[in-house]
Amino acid sequence: MSDIQLTLKIWRQEGPDAPGRFQSYASGPISTDMSFLEMLDVLNERLTGEGAEPVAFDHDCREGICGMCGAVVNGHSHGPEKETTLCQLHMRHFNDGDTLVIEPFRARAFRIEKDLVVDRSGLDKMITAGGFVSVNTGGAPDANAIPIPQKNAEEAMDAAACIGCGACVAACPNASAMLFVAAKVSHLSLLPQGHPERARRALDMVSEMDELGFGNCSNERECEAACPKGISIRNIARLNREFLKAAIFSDED
């Protein structure tokens, strides 16, 4: 364990309509055992003591699973470590004297609420459009009634691991949510329970994505590189197939 000193350039913005700007702070001594969010805690404690407004940032579980945290650090969603959420990024990956530029997840569909906090309700809206299996509580058949090949269950789980953080959207030059939508469409189309609605789901989720102002996919692969859960862009290929099949061959309109 040792201490490092950093220069933090953090995006400060009072509200959705206020102009934002970068503000520089000297971090003071930062233990390399700290997580990135604990480093922000230390800064905020100091700012509060000085009577200044602390930096607003979203966070909750701090275990890398709730998907609430996230910011762009030196141009990378969730910072430079591969497959790591911001809360699981530790300061030992930075060097004494580094400058860190910290800004919110930016996308046309993500309004900035304050500082690093953004509105990601668009992700919920896309799930609402069709990211579910239409089954009411009660009356489900025995869980082992339909065997599911282990390989399919594992592939479905790979896609279902998405934490809905929005890093993929922020990393994409088009601010597309293709990886997010693809993960859900893949998860449910790989399982028999999701089959009855697979065409409708693909059409509705993609159309909702377009309506919300997310961009299109131009195969930059930035989303995959930024995803803290390692969701593969093969899911996007699967989404494209599901969408095409639905648009061309299904009765759904």
Partner: protein, 637 residues
């Protein structure tokens, strides 16, 4: 008021069926006339919201986070129990019931726990139908694993992310009802109080966390699914936002609080490593299947673990509990780790850690096998500590994890305020004095999917379905009180940050009302708490205003309630003079320093009634009768 748990008559196995038949029904046309508020969108809240909306009720669901997909149920790793007996290894509803009630050290209601075991099977069916990708065997059948406190394999899992997958299943069901217009989802809302009119819960007051606007919402019934209060200790494995506010406000409006001192402290967490630390991270209990726990034999031995020879190590769990060894229940493992550290044999820079060593398992099974079993956990450990458990022992220490105590509810999950229901970790009902692994997910979903949809109708059928609105003056009054409290907080303008005071509270609670408790320590805490509360209300610093996103203000409101609630925990711990499960009173132990229950005097639920600020809470007792199991002293030797 006399506590009536409303346990149905008849044989244990028939109680729930009989009760479902006897519950009054609301006909489908009338369901449309009833509005229900659900606070919280974790497993219990999301599953209740979706199920109630499917029935036809109009549901309004609230959560703190920006999305209902983020409740802290999401962080549960290990799995969910069910009595499916898919492994043909002798499991049954009665065995799951028995293990749960024994694991809880005979401090839970038989009828509730039996119902939990009964509906556990429906939960698995429901989740699979929603598309939850549980682990499967090669042939396509569901896989199971074993877990602490059970001798059968009954735990269903989705890698190390079972909570996430179950929550996303419930969330998808919830969002489907949002699409149908049956649920109105209100995110980034914090419940500040409950509104009680003529003795019935009629609505809530919330703060819009983005705009700061204080809002009022009316309904025919209110369902709290607001989780546990582990963050009273500041450091815990809970999410940062987990809090007691909703439950505490309900308590102050007349809902009784049960067993507040029952807090589960999980033995395998990553140790505290600095004063800036914000939370603790759990390492799945499954690690104890292959890891051996040890400390150096000699206090103060600072050599690196690899340089300490075999004969100078103390494998204290294996030595003390030869038949269970490293697999003793959570409470026993935690207490023993503390005991070793108290003797100066703790390791690491703080001396507050013990080793969990995989070297024997690696040389026995090969590194490939161990990596397949625990690779993701080792990876997580390495990310946080920069040490690789394949090469050196892990360091672990107990941490606050789950609260068995909560608002008192009857068999219908209704609190002592008619119309106020409490689900999941927020209630007290099923885990007694200690929760078994993989049972929290089961209870949250049982309450939400399979209990509340029946029992809420039984209440609604007795009240008028006339439309509810917030015009009653009680709404304005409660909203004004909430606004005044926020104003008061912002006016303090002191010097200490919210976290500084919260840390001080947490340390006091950890030392005096943590893994082991004694009369003197608890009395000291009781004397010290008013001073910390005073310091908070005189000297806390909250920058910014109330009319904006203000995270300092949010935390301050929660800490203000923790500061009051802590006192009730200590009072409860003082009054329970026996040791049971997680609650270890040093005065009540066997000759071998194990927890000693006192069934003659303490076979009851301790239930507390609010009697006004500054007054002592009134104690009520719900006696626990055991007709189907014989309470025995737990032994793991």
């Amino acid at each position: 008021m006399i506590l009536d748990s409303k346990i149905p008559d008849g044989p244990l196995a028939e109680k729930w069926d009989r009760h479902r038949f006897e519950c009054k029904l609301v006909n489908p046309a009338n369901k449309r006339k009833f509005d229900i508020i659900v606070v919280g969108a974790g497993l219990a809240g999301a599953s209740a919201s979706a199920s109630l909306a499917e029935l036809g009720y109009n549901v309004k669901t609230f959560c703190l986070q920006d999305s209902p997909r983020r409740g802290h149920s999401i962080a549960a790793q290990g799995g969910i129990n069910a009595a499916k007996n898919y492994q043909n290894d002798g499991d049954s509803i009665f065995r799951l019931f028995y293990d749960t009630i024994k694991g809880g050290d005979f401090r839970a209601r038989e009828a509730n726990v039996y119902r939990l075991a009964q509906v556990s099977n429906n939960i698995i069916d429901q989740c699979v139908a929603q598309g939850v990708p549980f682990a499967r065997e090669y042939g396509g059948q569901l896989a199971n694993r074993s877990f602490g406190g059970a001798q059968v394999s009954r735990t269903f899992y989705a890698r190390g992310q079972t909570g996430q997958q179950l929550l996303l299943g419930a969330y998808s069901a919830l969002m489907r009802q949002v699409k149908k217009g049956k649920v109105e989802m209100l995110s980034r809302r914090e419940m500040l109080d409950v509104v009680v009119i003529d003795g019935q819960a009629r609505g809530i007051v919330t703060r819009n966390m983005l705009s700061g606007v204080i809002e009022t919402h009316a309904a025919h019934a209110v369902v709290l699914a607001t989780g546990g209060y582990g963050n009273v200790y500041f450091l815990s494995t809970n999410a940062m936002g987990s809090n007691v506010t909703a439950a505490w406000r309900a308590y102050k409006r007349g809902a009784y609080f049960a067993n507040p001192c029952f807090v589960q402290i999980h033995p395998t967490c990553i140790p505290v490593h600095g004063t800036y630390q914000s939370k603790l991270t759990l390492m799945s209990e499954s690690l104890r299947n292959d890891g051996r726990v040890w400390v150096p034999k000699n206090p103060g031995d600072t050599r690196p673990p690899t340089e300490i020879p075999e004969n100078e190590r103390d494998y204290y769990l294996e030595n003390k509990y030869p038949s269970f060894g490293n697999l003793v229940p959570r409470d026993v493992a935690s207490r023993n780790a503390k005991e070793q550290c108290d003797q100066g044999k703790g390791v690491g820079s703080t001396g507050l850690a013990v080793y969990l060593d995989f070297s024997e398992a690696i040389s026995r099974d090969g590194s490939g096998v161990i990596t397949r079993k625990y690779g993701n956990l080792f990876h997580m450990y390495e990310k946080i500590t920069a040490a690789n458990p394949m090469h050196e022992p892990m360091m672990i220490f107990p941490a606050v994890h789950y609260t068995m105590g909560g608002l008192w509810v009857d068999y219908n999950l209704m609190s002592t305020i008619p119309g106020l229901f409490v689900l999941g970790e927020a209630n007290f009902s099923d885990h007694g004095a200690n929760r078994l692994g993989a049972s929290a997910l089961m209870q949250g979903l049982a309450d939400g999917y399979f209990v509340i949809p029946y029992t809420i109708g039984n209440y609604l059928a007795t009240i008028s379905s006339s439309p509810q609105d917030t015009s009653h003056q009680a709404f304005k009054q409660v909203a004004d009180e909430a606004a005044a409290k926020i104003g008061q907080l912002l006016a303090i303008n002191g010097k200490k940050t919210v976290d500084e005071i919260h840390r001080e509270l947490g340390l006091l609670m950890w030392d005096s009302c943590g893994m082991s408790r004694n009369e003197a320590g608890l009395q000291q805490a009781l004397a010290r708490l008013p001073a910390i509360r005073e310091e908070f209300w005189q000297n806390v610093a909250i920058p910014g205003s109330g009319q904006e996103l203000n995270q300092s203000l949010e935390r301050a409101g929660r800490v203000a309630d923790f500061l009051e609630f802590a006192e009730l925990m200590v009072i409860d711990a003082l009054s329970r003079k026996e040791s049971c499960g997680c609650h270890f009173r040093e005065e009540s132990q066997t000759e071998e320093n194990e927890a000693k229950r006192d069934d003659a005097n303490h076979a009851h639920v301790s239930v507390w009634e609010y009697t006004g600020d500054g007054n002592s809470p009134e104690f009520h007792k719900e006696p626990l009768a055991f007709e189907n199991v014989q309470p025995s002293q737990r032994s793991y030797k």
